[in-house]
């Protein structure tokens, strides 16, 4: 309750209280710079965390409901086996859709490795069948058994082998992003505490005079806390704005492809960074307030 009251008084401001503390040089610049730099980093950590979150979600949901059947057979038997596989899939419970990957799609898949003019008909490539499951899924062991019996050249790949570790890795990257944000917040608090402590030490005589003329601790603390909170708020706002601009200018995912180009915010996700300046202000408020009360205890 007292912290809330302190916060409200801080927002209201007191011009006289602001004037009793002399303007400080390097601590002011240090606080603004530290807050700006940390906010910049937090925005990127947030973007990274959200991008990996999206990736994990994509791998976890859409890929979890898709499988691929690869059909390899001698010339003349390939089409027969593909038809057999499609017949099996049509009668397998838990299969929502199955379609044969066209030559154009296969060419597009191989293009990054072999170039655009790949003569598919001259290569002994397997045929691929994309399978989409129903939410309930299918019995993969049963399907494998049927395929082995009716289309011996067909191999079912339900993505389990590589999807699970990838989803786990993406989840861990998201956690790392959150941990990075926590560390940055803690570092910001530490730096502001150091700057506030330095300012308080440099103004020990001012504090002594204020105490001797009857100033309560809350009055002195408010004068320092307001200054550091506003500096942190301003620095974090500048750092956040710069980082958001930098992210907005990154190449778009549709253009270049790949994970890194997906780094950024989507839709309402752009609102998240706006919480960083007030949070930085709150961190500065708490850190400076604590440092000020600790310092004041040394003065009667």
């Amino acid at each position: 309750m007292s912290r809330l009251r302190a916060l409200l008084l801080l927002i209201a401001g007191d011009k006289q209280a602001d004037r009793v503390v002399p303007p400080t040089g390097f601590t002011a610049r240090l606080t603004v710079f530290a807050a700006a730099a940390m906010a910049f980093l937090v925005v990127f950590a947030l973007a990274f965390s959200m991008a990996t979150g999206r990736l994990a979600e994509r791998w976890g949901s859409s890929l979890a409901q898709s499988s691929t059947i690869r059909v390899s057979a001698p010339e003349g038997q390939l089409d027969t086996q593909v038809i057999a596989v499609m017949d099996i899939l049509r009668t397998t419970p838990g299969i929502a859709d199955a379609r044969v990957i066209t030559d154009d799609e296969q060419r597009a898949l191989l293009e990054p490795w072999f170039g655009p003019d790949l003569p598919l008909d001259t290569l002994p490539l397997p045929r691929l069948i994309a399978v989409t499951e129903t939410p309930e899924g299918y019995d993969s062991a049963g399907l494998r058994a049927r395929l082995a019996g009716e289309a011996p050249g067909a191999v079912l790949d339900d993505h389990t082998r590589w999807r699970v570790p990838l989803v786990r890795a993406a989840g861990r990257m998201r956690t790392l992003g959150l941990v990075a944000m926590g560390l940055i917040a803690a570092t910001t608090a530490a730096m502001i505490t150091l700057a506030a402590s330095a300012a308080l030490a440099a103004n020990a005589e001012v504090i002594r005079v204020l105490r001797l003329v009857g100033a309560r601790d809350a009055y002195i603390v408010r004068a320092f806390v307001r200054r550091f909170t506003l500096r942190a708020l301003a620095g974090a706002a500048a750092g956040t704005a710069l980082a958001m601009l930098a992210i907005a200018l990154l190449p778009r995912a549709e253009t270049a492809g790949g994970f890194l180009t997906g780094l950024g915010f989507v839709g309402l996700g752009w609102l998240w960074p706006l919480a960083i300046p007030p949070l930085a202000g709150l961190v500065a408020f708490l850190a400076t307030r604590r440092a000020a009360f600790v310092t004041l205890k040394e003065t009667r």
């Binding site: 006289q16 004037r19 009793v20 105490r211 003329v213 009857g214 100033a215 309560r216 601790d217 009667r300």
Partner: protein, 233 residues
């Protein structure tokens, strides 16, 4: 020693012992300052005059015994209690501490500012500055003031809250005799307005001059004890 009047005194020392190390600087000191009284505190350098004054405004607390400020034991006072009590005490420090980045007028109004009271009107501030002869220095920064000007400014700041007691530590220490007399006149005037005065000084001429103008008691610290000074003072 003045006889103690329980509950009426502004400041009460009861068998106070205080030291900065193992050896006490003050031992078994009792002192009772009645409202409107005028006391000088004298003694050799290092005898403990400044320490006794600091005990008076709760800047220090006794190792043994009790110091009561307006009836409140200073050891039992919270930091807020100390701040509130200091608003009822005007202190003129030996080294005249000011906020060097604020002009003199704002320094004088500082006790009002920190207590959340509206600042003095321009007329009141001008009157106060004229009273201490500093009307021309209202906008000057403290480092630009002379020793005498700082002493008078410290006195003006000490009384702006209309305190019940004024504690002055060597208020004439850095000024010439003419300025000392001027400061003394101001302090005597305050005492006639009903303020309790305690001045620590080693200036015996000042004490003798004051006793011609006001009924002042002289206390002397020697051998860690507080004594009533001899008739020659």
């Amino acid at each position: 020693m003045p006889k103690r009047r329980q509950g009426q005194d502004v400041i009460d020392f009861e068998d106070v012992t205080f030291g900065y190390g193992d050896t006490p600087l003050l031992a078994g000191v009792s002192l009772h300052l009645a409202p409107g009284s005028f006391h000088f505190l004298t003694g050799p350098s290092g005898a403990g005059k400044t320490t006794l004054l600091r005990l008076c405004y709760a800047d220090l607390t006794p190792d043994q015994g009790h110091v009561a400020l307006f009836g409140q034991d200073t050891r039992a006072m919270s930091r807020d209690d100390v701040a509130l009590a200091r608003r009822r005490i005007g202190v003129v420090h030996q080294d005249q501490k000011f906020l060097d980045h604020l002009p003199l007028a704002e320094n004088l109004a500082l006790p009002l500012t920190v207590s959340g009271q509206p600042g003095p009107s321009e007329t009141d501030l001008a009157e106060l500055l004229r009273w201490v002869g500093l009307e021309a220095q209202a906008e000057a920064l403290p480092p630009a003031l002379s020793g005498g000007e700082r002493q008078r400014a410290a006195l003006a700041r000490a009384i702006i809250m209309s305190p019940e007691i004024i504690l002055a530590d060597e208020p004439t220490g850095n000024v010439d005799w003419e300025m000392s007399l001027r400061l003394l006149r101001l302090i005597v005037e305050l005492n006639r307005m009903g303020k309790t005065i305690l001045i620590a000084t080693h200036d015996l001429n000042l004490i003798r001059t004051a006793k011609q103008q006001v009924q002042a008691r002289v206390l002397r610290i020697s051998n860690r004890q507080l004594h009533q000074a001899g008739a020659d003072l």
